[in-house]
């Protein structure tokens, strides 16, 4: 196994036989995780809009507004005040739920297809942490929601920094655009 310097030098010299050092791991190891993680968000959307449309019906007892309401007692700032604002006004509940669901759809599709992967990873991390801080205390037999929130949150952060690798729309997009944007003094990479 070579050191990072040797490896970079070999690659630069056009030596395709050189093996990367131990600290460099191919991103293809993360593809399966990206699919599974993306499907968590995509399936959340599907459950509401395809499997059980009652989840989006404010008059139904299965409406997700009931869940938001259930999260409230032990939720953590800043999710707690957001929840309170949402559950007190039914039109706001519906608007927020619709917005949240479509963000989940986009994050899910983008992670699965490797489109703007770093941005999708950022969105997934925010969604996961919101779910963790809101509902992390729920789970009647295990610490279910805490496990979901922490694992999804940190997995999402890996994609926020690692990106997609060769398998994904980003690989094609990189031919035309490096994905860099400037936000104030921060240089941010979206893919």
């Amino acid at each position: 196994m070579s050191t990072a310097e040797e490896y970079f030098h070999d690659v630069h010299q056009g030596n395709r036989d050189s093996l990367p050092p131990a600290e460099f791991v191919p991103i293809s190891y993360l593809w399966a995780l990206r699919l599974v993680l993306g499907f968590q968000f995509l399936s959340a959307f599907m459950r509401r809009y395809i499997n059980v449309p009652a989840k989006m019906d404010p008059t139904s007892s299965g409406f997700i507004g009931h869940k938001f309401s259930e999260f409230f007692p032990h939720a953590i700032w800043p999710v707690k005040p957001i929840l309170l604002a949402i559950i007190q006004h039914p039109p706001v509940t519906f608007a927020f739920l619709t917005f949240f669901s479509f963000i989940e759809l986009l994050v899910g599709l983008f992670l699965i297809t490797g489109t703007l992967t770093k941005l999708a990873g950022f969105g997934a991390a925010l969604l996961s942490l919101m779910i963790l801080f809101g509902s992390g205390w729920l789970g009647t037999s295990c610490v279910d929601e805490w496990q979901i929130g922490t694992v999804e949150g940190i997995a999402a952060m890996v994609f926020m920094f690692a990106g997609s690798g060769r398998w994904g729309v980003d690989h094609w997009l990189r031919r035309f655009w490096n994905g860099q944007i400037k936000l104030g003094r921060f240089q941010i990479s979206l893919l």
């Binding site: 070999d10 309401s69 920094f161």
Partner: protein, 187 residues
């Protein structure tokens, strides 16, 4: 070794600025993830489940009804029921409410399951629109996170006994036999 040493000689000793910048970014982002990941995992584990110190708990397991803020106003008991704990899939069922004064052996007021089941919906003022307290066939159904003020009329005998004692204790019993009490302030 001889083969490798020739390769070494061609390696530049100076690492380029771009490489240094790249490594610095990787290090910063990795440490960032490490710190943030450890923080939100351990913090939420302790906050929600008391998993690091104290006794491991699960707010989602056993029902708890909090009666804080309950008052007696004139000839009316304003009973505040708030259920922050317990399963989300199934309600808590209040099947008995009593009001006692210190020193008396029997409650000055008792509401039985069938009386609780007949409370008019206008006397139940829910705080939130989704998780609401309602009457069921055998008392009050209190779902997770619901909060409501339930108004109970007092008989004049009960009222005067409470006025004399200066305070009263309200007791709410779940169908499982679990009881919650609260010392009521008079207004």
């Amino acid at each position: 070794m001889a083969i490798q040493s020739t390769a070494y000689e061609t390696i530049p000793t100076e690492v380029s600025k771009a490489t240094l910048k790249y490594r610095d970014r990787v290090r910063k982002q990795s440490v960032f993830m490490l710190v943030v990941g450890i923080f939100f995992t351990l913090f939420t584990y302790q906050y929600f489940h008391h998993g690091l110190w104290g006794k491991l708990n699960n707010y989602n397991k056993l029902p708890l009804i909090v009666l804080s803020g309950t008052t007696v106003q004139g000839n009316q008991l304003n009973l505040i029921l708030y259920r922050p704990n317990g399963p989300d899939s199934y309600g808590s069922f209040v099947e008995k409410v009593t009001l006692t004064v210190p020193g008396a052996s029997t409650p000055v007021e008792t509401w039985t399951p069938s009386e609780l089941a007949k409370i008019p919906s206008g006397d139940i003022h829910n705080a939130y629109p989704y998780q609401v307290i309602k009457t069921g066939p055998w008392g009050l159904v209190v779902p997770l996170s619901a909060k409501a003020t339930v108004k109970f009329p007092l008989t004049s005998a009960a009222r005067s006994e409470i006025q004399q004692a200066g305070k009263a204790e309200v007791m709410v019993e779940d169908v499982s036999g679990v009881k919650w009490t609260y010392t009521v302030s008079l207004k």
